[in-house]
Symmetry: C2
Subunit: 452 residues, 2 copies
């Protein structure tokens, strides 16, 4: 059954007021799908349907709704309902939600949740943005190492269903310091009276609350973890970060990189949710900078005015090939910088590989530039019947411009990384402006020497 | 202790022949780090160190080594060692490894593993590349629904340690059809004589062996799953795909998108591992196509030769602003297409949103183009003291070129998606070529009308 059929059947039950049927039908859907269905309803209907949900899934569904819908919902329901909803949510989801809400709503929500939840949420809201602390969850199982397998199992039975993940147990000492991990399957397979200390794994990976979330994502990916424990300055365990949250981080960081590589200021929101003014603000500064940078190309062309308006055939040939040469230089630079930026992002190369990159790009550039120069020669000499000397100048400039752009494109991102800047910044705006300017300079330098 | 210190200490023990110490030190490292250490050694030493590893972790370490090292290792060790190594690996890791190896090595490996492993590997090697079947693992726990919680726990204790993940149990009927799922924490918290059927969740998400892996990744991300069951044509459960493998898929697909957006043929291998000829092969065709496409810009410029070489001041002004206008058009188009391509990739917008995109891009383009035209006017009229009429022509062309490029950049990726093509293809090569050509045409059309 496809999604359109599902929604039309649900809408029909809703329109006919068959709430019992609707309630039953909603129980057959995944919580993510229920949230998607609610997003398509207007506020009154959404509220009605939301109240039909069994309380066991209401908080989950709420986690998957979008901000606008959640804000409307919170404003429409009573204090007691708010309290139940937020208390039942996983802390990290509740914090995510509150971070994006207006202050009066946050105050109202915090006034209505249990003191425990309020304390935890407040602690979370204090972690710096993009830190490990701000994306971790506190719903995990940590036990002292002296507990036996049997005791730990009893404890899990008592509290486990409320935890976001119990796939790994964390073993802590009397000061709360993390000392080892026990995968749940190992716990199940161990003999009942073994202590956790005796079966725990002591080689484990952990991160710090203040670590940057991008660094945490790299660690989790490197070690293929499903969850990573988070410790505070004193080594005490304070939370875990699960792989599904890491996945979101990776997607967001990648989007940021891609946007920067296309000369856009990265935006936190989705395209359709971003307002016109924000879109303009994210695009205009870069375009204006590049426009101003093109003063250089204009200046260069004006400077060599004599060359362009001199002998008719030569001038026209040179003018006509300017866009071709500049485009090719820019494209070549972009190709190289893209490969290097992505390799830096996935941790495959480091600034210390600069020599390897230089050597590789030089050889690739030589091969590529010679072939492109031949194609260029064919187009200019055979197709457009340009004079031989002008054609040779253009093709020679092509070789140098491609070599220069590719080597620069390979090295600029490494330089940025070494200086602690974001390599993605060196992509389109910087590399194409530099490649453009230098391609022109090369052309005119060779043309002046050979044709005047 | 940083990584350089770790390796230098290990190297010292290795050089001094203190194998017992080295063995102890290796046990203190994460398996991923051991693999990284091995990758830095030459073949003889690598083999020596690898043989020091406890057999319980050797297969895991092997999974994390790079292809070149693994090939060398397999060629250097005996048949019995191969057999133990591969039999101990998770099937999906073993298949990944064999897919990238030369045929003679695959034959030798398959001749030495147990018949069960061989059958499974052979079955896997038959799934189409990029299908769900090719990335799934068969190490999961599936039980009939009539089993009680107690019986299931006993079964897990008997076999669980060999499974890649037992965080979720899968419930199947007598035909192997997947009927429900039981999270392990629910199993632990349930009463011992309840049957799996009575506690299983019947609303679950599954994928098909032949589904494209990109589609599987989208499903797993949408529903925030840690693992997804895979079923065959008859609905029988045949494997699971875990989130860490999905993460790899997402990273690879993103790299592909980014490379295509920069006019590169996507490569499966890492930058440093890709040979010169492959790098040339991935870059040259696109550069050549764009070079040939620039015949159009050359033709347009030649066609309007009269305009450029006519009145001296007009000709120079127009010539000097050609690169500026073309660059701005290309940059604007790239910004818009990047936003849309990324939003399509993350599933945030669909081709059916074309009208919304058109409306949004038009308004953004109007605002952006007016500001850019003013900047352009300032540069040309005030800074370069160009004639007023020429400056007005250039600024007016700027507005139209930006509007055109932004709207085109917004709609082209949606069109590609609707036609079943990869939207990333419409980025740099196509959009900049079209934006370049049209920006020039707009400039010359306005200039001819206004200045001749």
């Amino acid at each position: 059954m496809d999604w359109d059929t599902v929604t039309s059947r649900l809408n029909q039950m809703l329109a006919e007021g068959k709430t019992a049927q609707l309630r039953g039908a909603l129980r057959m859907l995944n919580r993510v799908d229920v949230a998607q269905y609610l997003s398509g309803l207007d506020t009154d209907k959404m509220l009605l349907v939301f109240r039909l949900l069994p309380s066991s899934i209401a908080s989950d569904v709420f986690s998957y709704m979008d901000d606008e819908q959640r804000e409307k919902l919170i404003f429409s329901i009573g204090d007691r309902e708010i309290s139940r909803l937020i208390d039942d949510m996983f802390i990290d989801d509740a914090v995510d939600f509150l971070e994006d809400m207006p202050q009066d709503l946050v105050t109202r929500v915090l006034a209505n949740v249990s003191p425990d939840t309020r304390d935890t949420i407040n602690r979370f809201l204090k972690y710096p943005e993009n830190s490990a602390g701000s994306i971790m969850t506190v719903e995990y199982c940590a036990f002292p190492g002296r507990l036996t397998v049997d005791e730990a199992m009893d404890e899990i039975k008592r509290t486990g269903l409320d935890k976001e993940t119990v796939n790994t147990l964390y073993v802590i000492d009397e000061n709360g310091i993390l000392t080892g991990t026990v995968p749940l399957r190992k716990l199940i397979c161990a003999s009942e009276d073994a202590t956790l200390s005796s079966i725990m794994e002591t080689v484990f990976v952990s991160v710090h609350t203040l670590d940057d979330r991008e660094q945490v994502a790299a660690t989790v990916q490197k070690y293929d973890l499903l969850a990573v424990p988070v410790t505070d300055r004193e080594g005490r365990m304070v939370g875990i970060i699960t792989l599904d949250d890491i996945m979101d981080v990776v997607q967001e960081e990648t989007t940021e990189d891609i946007e920067m590589m296309s000369a856009l200021t990265p935006s936190d929101d989705t395209y359709l949710n971003t307002g016109i003014w924000d879109l303009v603000k994210n695009r205009l500064p870069w375009l204006a900078i590049m426009l101003v940078a093109s003063i250089f190309t204009g200046l260069i062309i004006s400077h060599y005015e004599g060359l362009l308006s001199g002998a008719a055939l030569v001038g026209v040939a040179l003018t006509a090939c300017i866009p071709m040469l500049m485009d090719t230089g820019g494209n070549c630079g972009q190709q190289s910088s893209t490969l290097i930026i992505r390799s830096l992002a996935t941790g495959e190369i480091a600034p210390s590989d600069a020599l390897k990159v230089l050597w590789k790009e030089s050889r690739v550039a030589l091969l590529v530039s010679v072939v492109l120069a031949l194609v260029c020669f064919g187009i200019q000499y055979l197709l457009f019947a340009r004079p031989l000397d002008v054609t040779l100048v253009i093709s020679g400039s092509m070789i140098l411009a491609v070599m220069f752009s590719k080597v620069l494109g390979g090295l600029l991102p490494l330089g940025a990384k070494a200086l602690g800047l974001d390599p993605a910044l060196t992509a389109t705006p910087l590399i194409t402006t530099m490649a453009d300017t230098c391609s022109l300079l090369i052309l005119f330098a060779i043309a002046s020497a050979a044709l005047l």
